[in-house]
């Protein structure tokens, strides 16, 4: 290196930024690395989600972010649950019945073809069940729907399938509604990011990080959908998702908040989610039922619903909303009665309960709209009743250590804010988890209560309904592990150019075939 000029540096150095920026823009052609520009045709419906699906693997489709794209669009189940009526309806299976205590026989639809051209038959149905439930894949749906029970499946002939359970299972058809059918060519050793199904749309392209495009499939056995294409993008901020509807960049936006002020571009729908405090009765002061009752009396549920949620949520008296088998329509939310709450706390105190012991109110930040405000209101209202409440806002992963067994070892009593959505439509999916003494998300129970739950799980029909209704009533009278707050309402943003009516399962399964262009 020899200095060639008497100046400290060469003037050419000053021109590099200009050159570099021109070069950069030329290189990029003004397009982001690995993106394609382009706009959607009118025959395309554009959906914006809160997050990119981690995978579109069919056996993970009970995950909201996966299912919202895959279910009933790309793949289809044997049986499906009608979210409005709660009834099971035929899809790839046309009929099903219990042929013995532990065996179910299903008749399958004929003339159905997979998107790769192979025929759908009993072999494919059996393969799907085996792959999702009996394999080592570690499918999410296995844990959610079947636990550790393995199923025996047999293709009797091309259109007949038998499924045998280890124990009698009155809701097996409902469980089967969670399995999205895939062809026998699907890998059994690893999960498949882009599945093949029998649905009205096939996956056209997945630009990782940016966009998923579905295109309608000519060989579909059912009615041709109105939109030829569906495009999914994702934005983490609900305000941005809302803005995309307003600015005409998207037709449907999922998971909006009341703060987004969508006006008539926002549609409210009951989303099956219920918010409640789960109370840890293993620690003072929550180990006294009077304190747990006091918490229920101290929360002004009406006030919360009206002030934070514009009156759109419903005050809850149980963990499942109307429409779930086992919901008890007789139950009314606890009255808001601060004097009674104070009185119960002082009674407990008089009997030697340490009512000044700290209760940690554990809350997951950003779990749903206005959650921080709700947590602050609850902390204030419980303090008014004479309890010592400390607010702990955590992110998802930490919150889960409190939500699921083995529970985080906290220094004292925990009141956990939980948002529970029963996607399956049957109270067993709630009660086994949250109310059995050993439930994965339950702090405690009683032997008598456990017996009631076991009985309900094995019952069917009207008896099953009645058993679960009694369980929800008993919880409120004798157990009081929960202080229920509200059944929530979700908001979907929708452009005027699209006709679509959301229902309670839209958040988990957004059927593009139910969308039509507004003329």
């Amino acid at each position: 290196m020899t200095p060639s000029s008497k100046h400290p540096f060469h003037p050419a150095l000053l021109t590099w930024p200009a050159l570099a920026s021109a070069g950069l823009l030329a290189l990029s052609g003004c397009s982001v690395a690995n993106s394609d520009g382009g706009t959607a045709a009118a025959s395309t419906v554009r959906v914006v989600l809160g997050q990119e699906p981690p995978t579109l693997e069919a056996c993970e489709s009970n995950l909201t972010s996966t299912g919202v794209v895959v279910r009933s669009n790309v793949t289809e189940p044997l049986i499906e649950r009608n979210p409005q009526t709660g009834e099971l309806e035929p899809k790839l299976a046309t009929e099903w019945k219990a042929t013995s205590g532990t065996e179910w026989t299903l008749k399958l639809r004929e003339g159905v073809t997979f998107q790769d051209g192979t025929p759908f038959n009993a072999e494919a149905a059996a393969f799907t069940i085996d792959r999702a439930v009996n394999s080592k894949l570690g499918c999410n749906v296995e844990g959610y729907v079947f636990g550790d029970a393995d199923l025996q499946v047999k293709a009797v002939d091309a259109t007949t399938l038998t499924v045998t359970t280890p124990e009698p299972d009155p809701i097996l058809p409902l469980r089967l509604s969670f399995l999205e059918v895939v062809p026998v060519s699907t890998s059994t050793t690893e999960k498949v990011r882009e599945p093949i199904g029998t649905g009205p749309y096939k996956i056209e392209k997945w630009d990782a990080g940016q966009k998923i495009s579905l295109t309608s499939w000519d060989g579909y056995w059912g009615d041709k959908p109105a939109y030829a294409k569906a495009e999914y993008q994702w934005r983490s901020e609900s305000s941005v998702r809302a803005a995309m509807i307003t600015s005409g960049e998207a037709d449907v936006a999922m998971g909006l908040s009341p703060d987004d002020n969508m006006g008539d571009l926002g549609i409210d729908y009951p989303n099956n989610e219920t918010v409640a405090l789960r109370l840890d009765a293993n620690e003072a002061p929550l180990n006294d039922i009077r304190v747990r009752q006091a918490i229920n009396f101290a929360i002004d549920k009406e006030g919360i619903v009206n002030s934070l949620y514009q009156g759109k949520h419903q005050v809850a008296a149980q963990l499942v909303p109307e429409g779930i088998v086992g919901h008890n329509p007789e139950l009314k939310g606890w009255a808001f009665d601060l004097d009674k709450a104070k009185d119960l706390v002082s009674q407990a105190k008089a009997d030697g309960v340490d009512t000044s012991a700290q209760i940690s109110l554990v809350v997951r930040s950003a779990q749903f709209p206005k959650i921080t405000e709700l947590a602050q209101v609850l902390q204030e209202q419980l303090s008014q009743a004479g309890l010592n409440v400390k607010l702990k806002m955590l992110e998802t992963s930490q919150h889960l250590t409190y939500q699921v067994r083995p529970f985080a070892d906290d220094e004292g009593a925990v009141a956990l804010m939980t948002q529970h959505g029963n996607q399956a439509g049957d109270a067993a999916f709630t009660v086994d988890q949250y109310m059995l003494s050993t439930g994965a998300q339950s702090y405690f129970g009683t032997p008598e209560f456990d017996a009631m739950i076991k009985k309900a799980d094995a019952a069917s029909g009207d008896e099953r309904k009645k058993d679960f209704e009694e369980i929800f009533a008993y919880q409120n009278d004798k157990v009081v592990q929960f202080a229920h707050i509200s059944h929530q309402t979700g908001i979907i943003g929708k452009a005027k150019s699209v006709n679509y009516t959301p229902n309670s399962s839209s958040g988990d399964e957004l059927r593009v075939s139910e969308m039509t262009p507004a003329s």
């Binding site: 290196m1 400290p8 570099a20 995978t55 636990g147 990080g209 983490s236 941005v240 998802t396 994965a440």
Partner: protein, 309 residues
């Protein structure tokens, strides 16, 4: 120069290892991600299977040794979230961030040079006061707030720009404008400061007395001496852009490494987080070496003594 370069690369290797070990250990201190990846009602058996499958039941040192063994074979592990190769995910996201950061930085430097010179011509004059106010504001406005306001004004109210996304040239405007403000604000003040002192140097008076035009004096004489500190600081600010990219990419849906990192952290997707951090760290070290070498080229005083002498 080559010897100098080799020395710099070797001295960067150790901090790189420290960064990886740190991220690796801190990530695992947050606990087992099983509950994030399994259904809430998964059985203990499923938890155990998940833990064993991903090696989370091994002692930390064993896990780390395994990881470094993989790195030496260029195997950076797989994403828990997507099942894809972690290095491929990081490499795919990196160019988008690089484009955003480079374009932003180039524009920030150019704008800051113009505004800073303009302000320095008449210290404490009107232009100086305006630019000082603007640059202070620019350097201190929170990017998150600015991004949302930008969307509201330019995408919703005026309809000039898309809210977010990556299609078309107009999609670049809001993310770049958001990311640009801080470095621009800082650089204006640096340029102004060094220009004010450069313009009071005797050789400038000499140039003026010889009848050189004002523009020529500024661009040809003063700027040469004033630009070096600005370019050095610009390098450091580029490193800071990685932080800005996290916010900007998250809001605007820009498929870059910032968003990938934040998603990996929230999802405890260790392998992807490690790959993204490693890639970013390497890029930052490379950038620092370039800055130092550029500086050595600019200024003979810091030039390393080579063995040629």
């Amino acid at each position: 120069m080559l010897i100098y370069l080799r020395k710099r690369i070797l001295s960067s290797a150790l901090p790189l290892v420290v960064v990886i070990v740190g991220v690796f250990a801190l990530a695992r201190m947050t606990g087992n991600p099983a509950s994030l990846y399994l259904p809430l009602n998964a059985t203990q058996q499923m938890r155990d299977e998940f833990t064993a499958r991903n090696g989370f039941d091994q002692p930390l040192l064993v896990q780390m040794a395994d990881y470094f063994g993989g790195v030496l074979r260029l195997d950076f592990g797989q994403s828990l979230r997507t099942g894809q190769d972690a290095a491929a995910m990081a490499l795919r996201a990196f160019p988008a961030t690089l484009q955003l950061a480079a374009t932003t930085m180039v524009l920030a430097v150019l704008l800051a040079l113009v505004v800073g010179c303009w302000a320095a011509l008449k210290p404490n004059g009107i232009a100086d006061r305006i630019s000082s106010f603007v640059s202070m504001a620019a350097a201190s406005i929170p990017d998150f707030w600015l991004a949302i306001v930008g969307i509201w004004v330019f995408a919703i109210t005026l309809g000039w720009l898309p809210t977010s996304g990556v299609s078309g040239a107009s999609a670049w405007v809001l993310p770049i404008a958001t990311l640009l403000l801080r470095p621009f604000g800082v650089l204006v003040q640096i340029v102004r400061g060094s220009m004010v002192s450069a313009l009071s140097e005797p050789y400038i008076k000499l140039a003026r007395s010889r009848g050189a035009g004002e523009l020529r004096v500024v661009t040809h004489h003063a700027l040469r001496n004033a630009a070096a500190p600005a370019l050095t600081v610009a390098g450091d600010l580029t490193v800071g852009l990685v932080n800005g990219a996290v916010v900007v990419e998250t809001i605007f849906g820009w498929p870059g490494i910032g968003k990938l990192m934040i998603d990996s952290i929230l999802q405890r997707d260790f392998a992807v987080l490690q790959a993204a951090v490693l890639l970013t760290a390497v890029a930052i070290f490379a950038l620092n070496i370039l800055i130092d070498m550029g500086y050595a080229l600019l200024d003979a005083r810091v030039r390393p003594v080579t063995a040629r002498a």
